[in-house]
Symmetry: C2
Subunit: 135 residues, 2 copies
Amino acid sequence: MNNLNIYKEKLRESGLRPTRQRLKICEALFSPKETFHFTINDLSKIIEEKLDEKISLATVYNTVHAFKKNGYLKEIVIATDKSYFDTNTGTHSHFFDIKNKELIDINQVDLKDIPNPPTGKKIKNIDVIINVESE
Amino acid sequence: MNNLNIYKEKLRESGLRPTRQRLKICEALFSPKETFHFTINDLSKIIEEKLDEKISLATVYNTVHAFKKNGYLKEIVIATDKSYFDTNTGTHSHFFDIKNKELIDINQVDLKDIPNPPTGKKIKNIDVIINVESE
DNA sequence: CAAGTAGTTTAGAATAATTATAAAGTAATT
DNA sequence: AATTACTTTATAATTATTCTAAACTACTTG
C-alpha cells in the first residue's frame, strides 16, 4: 500500500535521490494499475494536470532516462520525431497504429527461426512491431 | 545501361520533374550494385564528395520523401535521433548494432503466429529488428 | 542539529534534425 | 520565344532533446 517506499527504492536503485519532483514522476509512472505508453511531453502534462506539480523538462528527461537505463521503463522506437516509453517492462511486442500513432501491447511474438547474428556479435533483444491501420 | 531513363521514370512516377539535382540524387541512390542504408546527411555528403554536386538539404529531403512515398526507398525506424533509409525496398528484416548504429539486411524473418489485429484494424506490415552488440 | 558537501532543480541557452518560406531559377508547353 | 508551373536554394522556423550554471535541497558528520 505504501508506494512511497517502492518509489524511493526504485530511485535509489537508479542512483537518484528521492526528491519531491522525482517522487511525483514515480507516482505518475508507477501508481496506475495498468501500464501505459507515453512521450516525455505526455508525462509532463500528466504530472502538471493530475498531480498538480510543474516539473522542468530537464528533470523529467533525466529521470526517465535513469529509469530506462535501470530497466524500470522501456523505450519503444516507432517514430523518428519523438521518443515513446512504456511502463510495461516485461518482454512483449506491439501493434502500432500508424495514423493515430497509438501503441497497443501484445504478448511476445516469437519468430519461426532466429537468424544467426554476424560473427562476433550476439543478440541482445528482438523488437517486433506490427503496423496496423483502420480499415 | 542507360540509367538516365530509369531515373527519369522513377522521378516521373513520383510526381517529380527530372532536374539536374534530382538526377544526381538518383545516381547516388540507384547506381550502386549493392543496396545500402543512409541518413539524409550521408546522402548529402556522398553527392557532394563523389558526384561533385552541392544540393541544398531541402531538395534532398523532398526528393527522398517522394521516393519513400512511392516505394523507391524504405524508411527504417531504429533510432529516434535521425531517420534511416534503405535502398533495398524488398521485404526484409534487419540486424541493428546498437553501438555502431550499423544496420545489416537479412532475409525476412517470419513469425510463428501472427497475432490478430484489434477489431477494425488490418495489418499493414511487420517490422522485425534484431538488436545485436559486439561480444 | 548545524554545517558542509554532494547531488538536484530550473530556466533558459544550445544543438540537431527536419520543415517551411519566398524569391530567383528552370523545365515544359504553347 | 513566351508563358506557366514547378524547383531550387538560402535562410528562417520549428521541435525534440541536451547542456549549463546558478540557486536550492537532501544527506552526512561532528
